[in-house]
């Protein structure tokens, strides 16, 4: 019995962390957030480490690792608030293509970091006003909003029926528009389809669910990393900042805020590991577990993001410290792929609790 990361997984995490510490520090995140540079160099570097190839089987040009390995990487990306198309290009799209056996020719270039696939799942999870797509004789019409990755070469689009389609960004009748959000570490777009050619990837709800569950666990892992960063920063600050001739971390009011963050975040680490493991090894539990990981991390993440900012006092509110990038990333992870209320209702439905 061994509940935890293997030495290979720890090594993977150390490798990614070292790369991001050097190549994607806050100064770089700021430049990307301000659109002075794009995330291409970071993604190329991560591709050299094999990150987009992680889940792709070896015979298709990948590394053939599992969901927990991917979650470990997602945690590192969250810890560094890294701008990268990881969720779509390294996790959700490859899984969809592998499970369905469609678009397999793209897996090689994706694994090399040469081809990016964005994801548009909002309409299949909880369609909002003005959004929705219809498919007729292989052509897609309508709008998908808050799709991820403005620089994608193609998009994996889920319809309300939970059918998956692939649309190339160069397709006739396809256009996209950048949607500004609070989270500038990843780009979000509106996709407009006017009879754009869409290739069917899968109509199998099993494939849709598997892709969505994996995406949710990655979002939870990203939030885990981001919240851990916020907590670490708050604890460091509380050890340095002096008021009333004492470091503020010696005041119980501040110390208890830090302790509460640690107490709620520490079990989340085990929950994320478990959910990552369940995706590949415990099919009877993995769906409910993915929902709980997503929703619970959203709640704990919000608490930690707020509290860590408060520990920093006025400085936490400024752009100078930069903690807001993590605050906003945690906020974005909460809403994308299902807000906590939607996801919890799904967990209840999966357990037969909804009449």
């Amino acid at each position: 019995m061994e509940f935890g990361l293997s030495s290979e997984q720890t090594l993977l995490q150390d490798t990614v962390n070292r790369f991001l510490d050097e190549q994607a520090p806050l100064a770089t995140v700021r430049q990307i957030a301000a659109a002075e540079i794009d995330d291409g160099a970071i993604w190329k570097g991560l591709a050299e480490l094999g990150i987009p190839a992680l889940l792709v089987p070896e015979h298709l040009g990948g590394v053939g690792l599992g969901s927990l390995d991917a979650a470990v990487v997602a945690e590192s990306l969250g810890y560094h608030a890294t701008p990268a198309p990881f969720l779509g290009t390294a996790v959700m799209a490859p899984l969809a293509f592998i499970q369905s056996g469609q678009q397999e020719a793209l897996l090689g270039p994706m694994a090399q970091g040469d081809y990016r696939v964005g994801i548009a799942f909002g309409e299949a999870i909880g369609a909002r006003n003005d959004a929705g797509t219809t498919v007729s004789s292989g052509k897609l019409t309508g709008k998908a909003i808050f799709a991820l990755d403005a620089a994608a070469d193609g998009y994996l689009v889920a319809t309300r029926e939970k059918h998956l389609y692939f649309v190339e960004a160069t397709a006739k009748g396809f256009s996209r528009r950048l949607l500004t959000t609070v989270d500038k570490t990843r780009t979000t777009v509106e996709l407009v389809f006017d009879g754009a050619v869409a290739e069917l990837v899968s109509q199998d709800p099993g494939v849709f669910n598997q892709v969505l569950d994996a995406g949710r666990v990655m979002q939870a892992a990203d939030t885990l990393g981001a919240a851990q960063y916020a907590l670490d920063q708050a604890v460091d600050y509380a050890k340095q900042r002096k008021q009333f001739e004492r470091v503020i971390g010696s005041f119980q009011a501040v110390k208890h805020m830090c302790a509460e963050m640690a107490a709620s975040l520490e079990p989340c680490r085990s929950l994320v590991w478990y959910a990552g493991h369940a995706l590949d090894h415990m099919p009877e539990e993995s769906r409910v577990t993915a929902c709980h990981a997503k929703a619970h991390l959203a709640e704990v993440g919000r608490f930690v993001a707020k509290t860590a900012t408060e520990v920093h006092g006025g400085m936490g509110f400024t752009d100078l410290v930069g903690l807001h990038y993590w605050f906003k990333r945690i906020g974005a992870n909460r809403q994308l792929l299902g807000s906590p209320e939607l996801v919890r209702e799904e967990a209840a439905r999966l357990q037969g609790m909804v009449a």
Partner: protein, 396 residues
Amino acid sequence: MDLSYGSEYSDFREEVRGFIAAHQDKSPSQASMRGAEGLAWQKLLLDNGYHSRTVPKAYGGFGAEPDILKSRIISEEFSAAQLSTGLGGQGISMLTPVLLEMGTEAQKLQFIKPTIMGEMIWCQGYSEPGAGSDLASLTTKAELDGDDWVINGQKIWTSTAQLADWIFCLVRTEPEAPKHQGISFLLFSMDTPGIEIRPLVDMTGDANFNEVFFTDVRVPKDQIVGRRGQGWQVANAILGHERGSLAPPDAAENRLKGIIKLMETETIDGHRVMDSPVFRDRLMKLQGQVLAMRCNDMRLLSARINKGQDARLAGMIVKLQGTELRHELEGFAIDVLGEIGLAYEDNPYLRGNGSWQYQYMYFLGLIIGGGTSQIQKNIIGERGLDLPREPKVAKV
């Protein structure tokens, strides 16, 4: 990540299941644990190594090598079959490990066997009216007079004092020493002249605790565990043992199952509570929290088996998170019941024997007892996150 216990443990699990199948009709109810039926069950468990498994045979135990997974399998199988795992209490869960570690051979031979057999019931004399969170400031004093300690002072929060045959007690023996170094750990009979017990009725309506007064209580001087002035280290060894065990995740999971059942059977205006999205969302939130604590517990179990896994912080948060979560679970069940949730004692509308209200209050007691939530946060902050201690206030 490997969640299986390995094939070498499947035989052991089968053995436990075989025992359960053969003997489960003998398992006593909670109420009769201290009666003849309970003591017979206790003996059966001891003889088969399902209680005090690693206590040496010379002291009445089974003498098995420590094996964390075997212990876990026993508790899993007994819990699944809803059987009593035998006697608990402070003598068994706290004093016995301390005697094994720090007691003299004579003390081990004298006390451990009757304690684990259930023939000798213990209470714990730690807290005092003036020494709660700051336990080391306790003032109950013991002075040597000839071959006896003479004890004067008062203890509080002494559970089972009215049932106890003996007490393990912290007393100040070196008044001149710094406060942590002036305490000793004494054992004495509750029949000793000069002991007065007053039940302390708490918010549940029961007297779960007592006050215990000592007036010139004479105790033979060799009834000390460890050396004079070493009592604080002895006590801390056991307090660490107590904290993690107050709110195990299996109990939270069982309560959650109970709440699900409640929501499927109780109705509001003819609709099941489960059909209300508002209640359902609260249920799912709690289920997520219970799952997180279950995962945290698996990590802790793993870290005990696999040296080198760091789960220090994961262990420090258990008392705080576990007791707060249980209190919230019980409170949610009361909300599910609405005004029926108010029912108590002999009310004919009572659900679950009134345990929801009772545990709701009892767990508030556990949030405070065994190191308050605030003390837990100090521990997490100072020992877990390495934040500086509160500076001492200059004496005026």
